[in-house]
Subunit: 193 residues, 4 copies
Amino acid sequence: MKNIVSFTALVISLTIVGSSAEARLGKTSIDTNVVNLSISETEVRNAQDAWGRALIQISTDHDKSGARAATETARKVIDGAYGYQLGTVLFKPTLTSGEQTFRTTKDGALAYFVGGNKAYPTDSGFALKGWRDFKYENAGVFINGDLALTMGKVHLTDKSGKVTSVDKTWAFKKDSSGVVRIVLHHSSLPYQP
Amino acid sequence: MKNIVSFTALVISLTIVGSSAEARLGKTSIDTNVVNLSISETEVRNAQDAWGRALIQISTDHDKSGARAATETARKVIDGAYGYQLGTVLFKPTLTSGEQTFRTTKDGALAYFVGGNKAYPTDSGFALKGWRDFKYENAGVFINGDLALTMGKVHLTDKSGKVTSVDKTWAFKKDSSGVVRIVLHHSSLPYQP
Amino acid sequence: MKNIVSFTALVISLTIVGSSAEARLGKTSIDTNVVNLSISETEVRNAQDAWGRALIQISTDHDKSGARAATETARKVIDGAYGYQLGTVLFKPTLTSGEQTFRTTKDGALAYFVGGNKAYPTDSGFALKGWRDFKYENAGVFINGDLALTMGKVHLTDKSGKVTSVDKTWAFKKDSSGVVRIVLHHSSLPYQP
Amino acid sequence: MKNIVSFTALVISLTIVGSSAEARLGKTSIDTNVVNLSISETEVRNAQDAWGRALIQISTDHDKSGARAATETARKVIDGAYGYQLGTVLFKPTLTSGEQTFRTTKDGALAYFVGGNKAYPTDSGFALKGWRDFKYENAGVFINGDLALTMGKVHLTDKSGKVTSVDKTWAFKKDSSGVVRIVLHHSSLPYQP
């Protein structure tokens, strides 16, 4: 198993890496106009981090301000962090099954995160479970141009201190305006031998 | 849920699509030299199909010729169909857990498929379970240049007729010589509510 | 030398190819959600064709409605067909030289096409030369994901019937919303031995 | 105009940048398996530099060891640095015209560089002109995954001290094994107003 990065430490280290990378780029470039549309390792980590932060935000909004506020936040998160405007997202959430296993539409994703949609009767709202902390351990990262794949363990801690661990795969796509979006997300409970 | 494609029917339809696509290309191009390094939907389906065929081959070799023959076949399959020579493959097999959940090395993948490796004591050989038929239903396909993502259900039938269904994500990378390889593979048993 | 495609014939043939390709795609897909962000050969030809049409439009607007109208059209063409909003375009127009050879900014491109910018004193407005017809012969096309390269001869005919031929390279980038833009354009007069 | 990088200085600076980039990568990664198939700015500059070095090598081999040695070197350069094995290269050399303007085959490229091919009667061997020094000034660099575009001035100095400047566009493709190849090359003499 690989690196364990805690939420707070990550934000700090990313800032440092970011600025040193910028400094280095300036030196290499010697005034040349350079456009680089590939996704960097730092951008991948930022996106993973943003996902965890968003999940915690929805949970916190739910606990502080209720279901409507949490739904509003979830809607913004899905619009901003997922790529449903590209046509479809390949999304297999942790706790879905049967005919509704895959949530390739925005409505299906929203139902999973905050529940309250009669069309998805088994959804109780994964993001409403009082999440307070988020850690990830990448087993590997595969960067292919503007698309990056990550696979690893994600550990979520709720307000009672209970930790839930899942096996998680993400594909992040950086569009030409620099916005990074999740285009694939497969999450599963660990196999119990 | 989406298309159900049976193994035998697929091979035939792909051949037909393949040749009509070639004919069409010749017409469009009007003698121009065209190199196209992107992966096509047909190549993605061919690769999914090849994975199923390979799994059945390992099982059949095992039943007919024993463990050594099956291991030899599995080794060839991993060399030919997975991208370990790129440095790592993001592989989360169906039945792995704990510290050995992710099989980012070729040895780890081989152990999972055919067992017999003391370093992976819980592996009994997933490909040796007498598989005889393979079907897949893609919930979605996302093509991004030379890399394609697929997500859906895969149904495996063993020689007793028992069907095992899994939720499966693949990323296929077509290299510059036209060879398509699996660079990510996340398989999980359906969630039991 | 390769295919000679006349302007009018092209539009018709592209439409036909386009619809047959769509029909074929529907059949292959069998209801699966497919997102494909790669650029197709048809999209490349459409973009080449659009460039020629735009040049003729600027010329025609100039002759019919004067310099201001032509400038307005040119501005729209550059905004719509070139990728300056990505940060820079690698543009070497046919008739530029010295310190102003490369037009990596939008202002530099506009000055080249319609003149009238004191900062570019040698620019007389390439698009104002009364162009009425456009043909291209691709020597080759190289497609790499969402980016396509073309190289070949472009023949421009003005209202007096005089033909100007140039050696031209384009790189077209298809962004995630499906818009195709020129990110590189190198044009040069044929070498005179 | 942008950065002027002399041949010798470049080799040194690239080595330094290379090792610092490696060091940085190790730090960022914290033991994660990372595969990155995108081309970096450093790899682009290395490839530009390698092209100049190769041209000088062919010239030097010609002057020291004669035409046969130069041809052997040119053949190796084309095999190693150009992408003809991908099917075609979009190559418009500086001094070609008419029906033989574009050299989309390996034979056409070799004839241009070293002459001696009756099928290309106007080729006298561009690489045999006694080149001794090479400098480039990039007007811009556009990186899109594993493919990079560069455009700028290239200045070649021969053994008599005479400098020839050309406007040059390159597209470099990094294949999955890490080898960087020229897939497009458009070179033209500056426009004479």
